[in-house]
Symmetry: C2
Subunit: 470 residues, 2 copies
């Protein structure tokens, strides 16, 4: 069995190598579909991306390929899940492969060197919105499965379920409900998620913790209608000034969040974890210069950058719509303005409790003449996953073969809400094996995916799936 | 002479009354031109509005009607002045009629009950962007002149110069340069400006003071590119948080401006002026409820609303472009964000000194990890005009005849920068006789002009011009 499996793995790896260019061209086709899930006008494109993925899953040999609608009366804009399985590897474990086909908005468009939805290869990278997050990484799963099907004469070495969602960038409510209500259709022994990054180029990485989040809006309303600042300046409340007064009371100049009780449930990483982080090849000055590019870094005093971005809660303002934002001058006191504010949460905080603390606090801060409304846009749980199981060993073995190096265990600062649902609802471990790079410009202009990592990712997944089935 | 003049005045008033509907229909044609001076894409429309005004001035009998270009290499977006004169009233004084044909942007469009550039009559008002500010009021001048030409057989009772600018809403640099460099072409004894409002319906009003302003942008730059708040939150500086930290240090929660030295040159109104303001029919609670519509008013403690809006400097934030302002969620830490901040200035402050104080102070406030840039967008001087001259008496006499009431003297909170230039460069008094109403929604959605005031304004101007010439 072992010999036969090794031969099949080798054949799959060879198949993947021979078909690299075709895999890239297919990915480009998918990247051309502007499946921006937060934009209601893109709903048709989002569906088109789902259909594209479903058609390919069917073509390579997956079974029961279907779109599962997530639209409900409360969520008229829900985007479909792509669900499929292949369960004929009797006695073998079942791997649930997860990815998402939706992408972030591409704005600001004028900062892209090539158009976000016209994938372009430069210097061994493919540039496009979604290249690494997550279309490119999800496509690694599909292409690893195709390679294994090809090598196995239409059979896989493990049982596989696939679920690909279209709402990861907008909170993933649709898949969360599906996991809660139809968990049996995703029944598996382990989940494989490739939506994270490597700690450094050539350094195989497993992500074992993720921050959660709450994404909110604070709307400040003053006058009934927009007013002329000459005529009313000095008497009418200004919603932007009011929001500034609220924001500075949310986080102090040293990065400490001022919401009462906010830090109460924050768990400190284990000594072993903190020690391992210290051993990682991390140069703060290099990080500041090459990744952030600001004159200095910010954040809570007394914590390293890795602690601040992996194990500490944070608060950011993403945009402040309202008033006049065009070129030139308009002397308006706007009737209302909004601050888009999110907080990253860490174990053992919960979105519900953190939002309640935040909302109550903001409402108490309400400046004179202003009416505030605090809204939750979406949320995700923070999680830490176990590293002590055979699936993590299969993943580290696979990557050791491909990269020739030991895997490092890191956490991610971002949220992948579904991982929490897998842990909570399906009660299965998750292997977060991602192949992005720190400079891949996730959620930013000029997002890219390093093609060498796309190929190594496919090979790693081929070997991981074979390893789990062995 | 006096009898002949009275007969001619009566004939002009009759002509204006008989032609009211035509005057309104012509005004609608002008209002349909979206001459938004701050929008580079509207440059063609702005020019079309200038040509419309010039053609009408020519048709009614004005001489030397011409467009004066204001474009220079530093100001490639300059809009033309419309200049004309009629100087055959030998021995009579010369009145310089000023107005502007440009308008504010119409945004937010979804709050207009009828489209901003499709003038619509409702309840005795005409609704459109520019209806009262200033196309409707400028058109009163043109129609008063037409009525006097008609009554006088092609002659006017006074010498008249007309200058109509297209950059009032963007700082008026073009006309300021023209006044400085070609003042002799505007040589007059008095300027007539109708770009202000009446203190209350039916209460004839002259404006005798205006606040100045500086309109600025503060740009805050943090990271080199937009970053994912999950990955970098806790390490990367947030430009919106930084701007909030700056804004709260510009103005305290009680409305006091915190810029060092800012109040040093503020002149207190005379006791007589303060006493007259107290006698005006002003109900603060009614003003809050009907004009502002906020839960309470704001502003410096210890000053009345009229003092705060007429005689005290103020600071407002008009918009904060940058980051993600669309619907839904985008977890971006934007590389940069901007705050559009303006300050209203009162006598004896100067824009140059106030801006220097502000810029130096803001630069000192620069938050960690952030680079700030402070830019002046435009400015205007504060002014107080004399009330003790024959032209003010001609204006109060004219309005007494039309309204049957004594004129009140008020100040305006807004800026009409050109009035300062007339005082400084041409050394002539200005009569600010405006016919807007407090609820005309200047610079806001659903701007309107009360048609009864349009007609009374024309008659008042006919009588004023006759009175100056008598």
């Amino acid at each position: 069995m072992r010999v036969e499996m090794d031969a099949m793995t080798m054949a799959a790896v060879e198949f993947a190598e021979k078909n690299q260019r075709r895999f890239v061209e297919e990915l480009k086709e998918l990247l051309r579909i502007p499946s921006v899930s937060t934009d209601p006008e893109r709903a048709g494109d989002v569906r088109r991306a789902a259909e594209f993925v479903a058609a390919e899953l069917k073509r390579i040999g997956m079974q029961h390929v279907r779109l599962v609608e997530t639209i409900t009366s409360e969520r008229p804009g829900g985007h479909p899940l792509v669900v499929a399985d292949w369960l004929e590897a009797e006695g073998a474990p079942t791997v649930l492969c997860y990815g998402h086909y939706d992408v972030q908005p591409a704005e600001p468009l004028d900062e892209w060197k090539s158009p976000p939805f016209e994938p372009t290869e430069r210097d061994g990278n493919i540039y496009a919105r979604g290249a690494v997050d997550d279309k490119g990484q999800m496509w690694m799963h599909v292409k690893a499965l195709e390679s294994l099907f090809a090598a196995g004469g239409g059979k896989l070495p493990v049982n596989v379920r696939v679920v690909v969602e279209g709402e990861e960038e907008v909170g993933g409510e649709g898949i969360a409900a599906y996991v809660r209500e139809h968990g049996e259709e995703l029944k598996a022994d382990v989940a494989l998620v490739s939506d994270t990054e490597m700690f450094a180029a050539d350094l195989p990485t497993l992500c074992v913790g993720l921050r959660g989040m709450i994404y909110t809006e604070i709307e400040a309303r003053g006058a009934r209608t927009d007013l002329h600042s000459g005529m009313y300046g000095g008497a009418a409340p200004n919603p932007f000034v009011a929001l500034a007064q609220v924001i500075v009371q949310l986080k102090d100049a040293e990065g400490k969040i001022l919401i009462p009780g906010f830090y109460d449930k924050v768990a400190t990483p284990t000594d072993a974890e903190l020690k391992a982080w210290k051993a990682l090849p991390f140069d703060e000055e290099h990080y500041r210069e090459t990744e952030v590019g600001s004159v200095s870094l910010t954040g809570e005093a007394g914590y390293s950058v890795l602690e601040r971005t992996w194990a500490r809660p944070t608060l950011d303002v993403h945009g402040m719509p309202g008033g006049f934002t065009g070129a030139g001058a308009k002397t308006v006191i706007p009737a209302k303005a909004v601050a888009k504010v999110s907080m990253r949460l860490v174990p053992d905080m919960t979105p519900a409790e953190s939002f309640a603390q935040y909302k109550a606090y903001v409402e108490r801060l309400c400046p004179k003449g202003i009416v505030l409304e605090v809204r939750m846009i979406h949320s995700g749980d923070p999680i830490v996953v176990s590293t002590d199981n055979e699936y993590v060993r299969a993943a580290t073995d696979a990557m050791h073969t491909v990269f020739g190096k030991e895997t490092v265990f890191v956490r991610g600062g971002g949220s992948i809400p579904i991982v929490g649902d897998f842990v909570r609802e399906l009660k299965i471990p998750t292997v977060m094996m991602g192949f992005g790079l720190p400079d891949d410009n996730l959620h930013a202009p000029n997002e890219k995916f390093h093609l060498a990592n796309f190929y190594r990712g496919i090979e790693s997944i081929v070997r991981f799936l074979s390893g789990v089935g062995a």
